[in-house]
Symmetry: C2
Subunit: 345 residues, 2 copies
């Protein structure tokens, strides 16, 4: 099969590699029809994190089930499915608690399973991981485009909002105008926030934030941005969605939090060799909640909203490529020519 | 008046200094009858934190109101009162929310107000800060000894338990066997925890922990301690009370937390130049909650339990001195000859 692989920083190629096969009765093979490139893919692309080379890339697959192992009961060949970036069993203590990312039988994409940015993937925990799209919605291109972000960024933004404790009537701030931050705005609106302050540095992305429900836009940086939020809220907000994962964004997040408030964080920490400075959290009893998003926990609920037409994260896809266009997709995201790239195979 | 003052690392002296006076109608002067030496006092004593020299020390005063300003309504001369380490107005947004430590009109002890380890203190927010002991309990020496820890360590341990989400039936771990950790054990038991794992390195202190309700004692260090807790709990606990504030204790705390659990932390961070490593929190969605304890919020509730005889933190006082004995009290705590020192004036 053909699949995008990482060969080194800045070097993504579409290669011929072996198609994954069923090796256990709980496996399924999915023919990928749609996938995406993630902001987190840029770390290895930029050489900021280590990755084996060559190795298949991508972790946001949607497609058609081609084959299932004998024990699989929740999906069958021909079903349209999507899958989160983490593979989970659905049956252990942590899956039952909704922390599928801590699944004791957890697995992922890549390696022999194939990466999400390739023609086929093997899901090693099909029943616990794959989510079926109802048949009558399974072939509408617009619907699929709106569902695809549920594989990662939409559910991750939602996790930030949930972790920050956003609820009806809340005033919140969203730090970061990448795809996760934009989805965080959508999620906060969905949870009933009345005031959503979107913080970022890109005019075009903040426009999407506004379209998604942000009531205030703050494009300043650092201390100036913090002051702007304090001014607009008389001292900060109770709920902050930290959607970047950098040292500076964490500083901004705790800086705009009101005493006793909560920072919900979902960006994989990077560039935090110095760790998180505990003092601003400690001094004002600001909680730090969140972590790697248990996307699987949220997909069904959010899918219902997408299918009902009340939630549409599709605008985060500002560029579409085919499989051969994946290297160009990485370039576009790296150079911020695209918020998020949709790959249609 | 006579008061203990800091003159430099390792150098505490009892000096003659001016007695504080009422300077505003919301002030009160308290004649200190009981106070304590705090683990946090050891940082400047050891030269690990900066402090003006000379400066009056102590922040856990209990005593008799001597004089009040014209606007003070909640206490009057002759009342037995105690006060938390933070002075707060009781009326601002944050006091109303129970985060008195973020009071917008906040003040503290020391300087012209006098330190808690002296004959008199001035409380600049008497109505919001001082808590009256009911008259019929106001003179019993044993009762006062049991109430004094409410000025700091008992309420701080309670804040750790509350922040960690301890509730009826919970299994929790308490990192640290200092006075705050021991009070954390008491607090967890009071909140209904069924299993309380006390972690520390001092046999005599762990004995107090057991007396306070700890069901398991772990005296190992580092990775070995973490493994011991994992073994006893099949993978960690949902509620961790971090009662030290050091880098290693925070590592232990997150290490013994179960995925999806919460670390409640109350020890002022020190020796954390490297910050808090976010990865173990992030990867397993472990929340970090707490901060400087809003002691004032908890005093009334815990006082009721002490007066009813269901709560008694007095055993944390393993040594008693008079005002002249304060320098010796610091030495004893510094050399771990005492868990916590009671000062009777």
């Amino acid at each position: 099969m053909r699949a995008a692989r990482y060969h080194g920083p800045g070097d993504i190629r579409v290669d011929e590699i072996p198609k994954p096969e069923i090796e256990s009765p709980d496996h399924a093979i999915v023919r990928v029809t749609h996938t995406a490139i993630c902001g987190s893919d840029l770390w290895f692309y930029r050489g900021a994190s280590d990755r084996e080379a060559p190795s298949p890339v991508g972790h946001e697959p949607m497609g058609i089930v081609e084959e299932v192992g004998d024990d699989v009961v929740s999906v069958e060949p021909g079903d349209r499915v999507l899958a989160p970036f983490a593979v989970s069993c659905g049956e252990c203590e942590f899956c039952r608690k909704g922390i599928h990312t801590s699944c004791v039988n957890g697995d992922g994409w890549g390696g022999d399973n194939g990466g999400g940015q390739g023609e086929y993937v093997r899901c090693t925990q099909a029943d616990g991981t794959l989510v079926k799209v109802p048949d009558r919605h399974a072939d509408d291109p617009e619907t699929l485009r709106s569902l695809l972000p549920l594989t990662d960024v939409m559910c991750t933004g939602h996790h930030a909002a949930v972790s920050a404790g956003v609820d009806a009537g809340a005033t919140c701030a969203v730090v970061g105008d990448g795809a996760v931050g934009l989805c965080g705005v959508l999620a906060a609106r969905r949870l009933g926030a009345e005031r959503i302050i979107a913080m970022g540095h890109h005019e075009d992305r903040l426009e999407i934030a506004e379209e998604f429900g942000a009531t205030d836009l703050v494009s300043a940086r650092g201390e100036e941005a913090v002051e702007a939020v304090h001014e607009r809220t008389n001292g900060g907000v109770d709920h902050v969605l930290e959607c970047v994962g950098a040292e500076s964004s964490m500083e901004t997040a705790v800086g705009v939090a009101r005493p006793g408030g909560t920072v919900g964080y979902v960006g994989v920490p990077h560039g935090m060799d110095a760790g998180v400075d505990p003092f601003p959290f400690f001094g004002d009893n600001i909680a730090l909640r969140g972590g790697v998003a248990p996307v699987r926990e949220y997909i069904e609920d959010l899918m219902a909203d997408v299918l009902q037409g009340t939630l549409d994260p599709a605008p985060v896809f500002t560029k579409t490529v085919d499989l051969d266009g994946v290297p160009e997709g990485y370039r576009a995201m790296d150079e911020r020519d695209a918020v998020k790239v949709l790959v249609e195979l």
